[in-house]
């Protein structure tokens, strides 16, 4: 049903720390790997070995520059790597525009999913999503999207510590955090409160559940520090052995 459910208490989502993301694309690859066999499998690649290969990915990692660089290499510009995936919005227009009921938002945890068995592939949901979270599977003729690894987070067959989205599990810098953003006392909610977590395009009113932690303000720009004192040249002094070595090498 594309009518939105009465909002529940639980709002599962991601918090992405732009201060520590190094842009390694591990989340994108781990996501592709898991979801190629997961709930929305397959994630097809089209012409994978040809000149213009492309495919369906639920995570894409962009790089931005924030601030401006001076000509002398100074300035406070900084590179920010920006992982982009479904934000599991509280007002997901991708769900309400769906003419078939294939797109839906779960009442119990807020996860937005596609039922590929009834999707007609009209692509309207992808037009309605400001964030580009949905990608079309040309092989099956249906729309695909991030499932928040619904087949991991509730999976009794894997160790409890691994019941996390694949992108969160794999991140080598812990830039991605998973949790209940509907609970103000959860670790992710506290992180958002402490770091001033942001909604993307709040002006459109989609009320994303996922939050982005902006890069930390650096207290000072890297200042030139005085060069360490140059150690004095090795003085041969009175040491006979060193005097001999010196003579030998100076020859």
């Amino acid at each position: 049903m594309t009518s939105l459910p009465i909002p529940g208490q639980k709002k599962l989502g991601l918090v992405i720390d732009l201060d520590v993301c190094v842009g390694c694309h591990a989340c994108a690859t781990a996501c592709k790997e898991w979801n190629s066999g997961g709930h929305s499998a397959p994630l097809p690649d089209f012409n994978p070995y040809g000149a213009d290969a492309y495919g369906v990915w639920f995570n894409r990692i962009h790089s931005f520059e924030e601030g401006t660089s001076g000509e002398d290499g100074g300035g406070d510009a900084r590179t920010v790597h920006f992982p982009r995936s479904c934000l599991h919005c509280e007002e997901p227009a991708c769900v309400t525009v769906c003419p078939t009921g294939a797109s839906y938002k779960r009442a119990e945890d807020g996860i937005v999913l596609v039922n590929a068995d009834i999707c007609i592939g009209c692509k309207l949901c992808s037009w309605a999503c400001p964030y580009g979270a949905r990608e079309f599977d040309e092989d099956e003729g249906v729309m695909k999207k991030c499932t928040l690894c619904i087949d991991r987070i509730y999976n009794d067959n894997i160790a409890e510590a691994e019941r996390l989205p694949a992108c969160v599990m794999v991140c080598p810098t812990s830039a991605r955090h998973f949790g209940d953003l509907g609970d103000p006392n959860s670790a992710v909610s506290e992180m958002v409160a402490a770091r001033g977590g942001k909604d993307l395009m709040p002006e459109l009113g989609y009320r994303p559940v996922n939050k982005y932690l902006p890069p930390r303000r650096q207290t000072t720009a890297a200042r030139p520090s005085p060069a360490p004192p140059v150690p004095p040249p090795l003085a041969a002094g009175d040491n006979k052995l060193l005097r001999w070595v010196d003579r030998l090498l100076s020859r």
Partner: protein, 326 residues
């Protein structure tokens, strides 16, 4: 990504799928023609002959059905299209589907009553008027499919639905002005009405173009990334070197020069030529030919106008791919 093609401008616009361009133009004109006949015939404003009825209803139905069928070509799974009738509570696309099909129920009663029983009054006439109202509702839904999409500011505004109405009505009236001539030797009121509607549609289209040219985009790359505390935000690297679905669907690029030239061609073929031809159609010796020229020219103009409606519509997702504003 920007700069990889000789065409200037950032990839940011909606890809104009020909199936959708044809769907919105053809079904818009078809439903508008149906609405015009459904109202004017029961009121006795048009010829009551079965021949005229057959021709006009056939043209209206063929255009409406061909447009709807064309929209099915756009689907990844056309065999499941029937499922689109289920979500009318929230989805304008679903509402459009439901209403477009339901319109044919009173339209069929009206058509049968008129063509088989030669009756255009009473219940048959009421069905005609009902079909007209529902056909207008269908056009409204078509416009709202686009007008309800917040990520695209060129669509998410109050000018889109009036434009769909005016352009559909213009197309329907131009067709009527042509068809009616085989049964009505010298129509005056219809071509005069056509002239008024073309002027109105032209004005609305100009207002629409002006609106999208001067309004500021609510979203920019800073709001899309939550960055900007340090200053200007710009894309350094896209996430992938090849194409992807988003770039194919929403990363259409059209040069400003071409855009303006196409607007000019749309103005000429869509409005000016049909206006002059309709004016000429007021004079009987050239009436039929002029009305036909008006229809053909407007058809070309509407297709260009609708193509531009997509090619000028910028999607916010392209803020992540190098567009600074959309």
């Amino acid at each position: 990504m920007a700069g990889s093609s000789p065409a200037k401008g950032i990839r940011a616009a909606m890809h104009p799928a020909l199936s959708i361009v044809f769907f919105t133009t053809a079904s818009g004109c078809g439903f508008a023609l149906l609405a015009l006949i459904g109202i004017a015939v029961p009121l006795g404003l048009l010829p009551q002959s079965a021949g005229f009825g057959f021709a006009a209803l056939a043209v209206a139905t063929v255009l409406a059905v061909a447009g709807l069928a064309s929209s099915m070509l756009h689907l990844g799974r056309p065999e499941r299209a029937w499922r689109a009738f289920s979500q009318w509570k929230t989805s304008w696309l679903s509402r459009e589907g439901v209403l477009s099909v339901l319109t044919f129920v009173p339209a069929a009663v009206f058509g049968l009553g008129w063509l088989v029983f030669g009756n255009t009054g009473g219940l048959v006439g009421l069905c005609g008027i009902l079909a007209a109202v529902m056909a207008a509702g269908t056009i409204y839904c078509t416009g709202m499919i686009y007008a309800s999409l917040k990520p695209i500011r060129q669509w998410n505004n109050g000018w889109v639905v009036p434009n769909y109405f005016a352009l559909g009505l213009m197309g329907g009236l131009l067709l009527l002005n042509l068809i009616v001539r085989f049964w009505m030797p010298w129509p005056i009121a219809i071509p005069v009405l056509v002239l008024i509607v073309i002027a109105a549609a032209w004005g609305l289209k100009e207002r629409y173009w002006r609106f999208i040219d001067i309004t500021a985009a609510p979203s920019n790359v800073a709001s899309a990334t939550g960055l900007g505390r340090r200053g200007k935000v710009r894309m350094l690297e896209p996430p992938n070197t090849e194409e992807n679905y988003l770039l194919k669907e929403m990363g259409f690029r059209i040069a400003r020069k071409h855009r303006l030239r196409l607007r000019l061609i749309a103005r000429l073929t869509g409005f000016l030529v049909p206006m002059l031809a309709t004016l000429a159609s007021l004079f009987t010796p050239v009436g039929l030919i002029a009305a036909a020229v008006a229809v053909l020219s407007a058809a070309l103009g509407l297709v260009i106008e609708r193509w531009l409606f997509f090619a000028e519509a910028k999607h916010t997702v392209m803020l992540y791919y190098g567009a600074e504003i959309v």
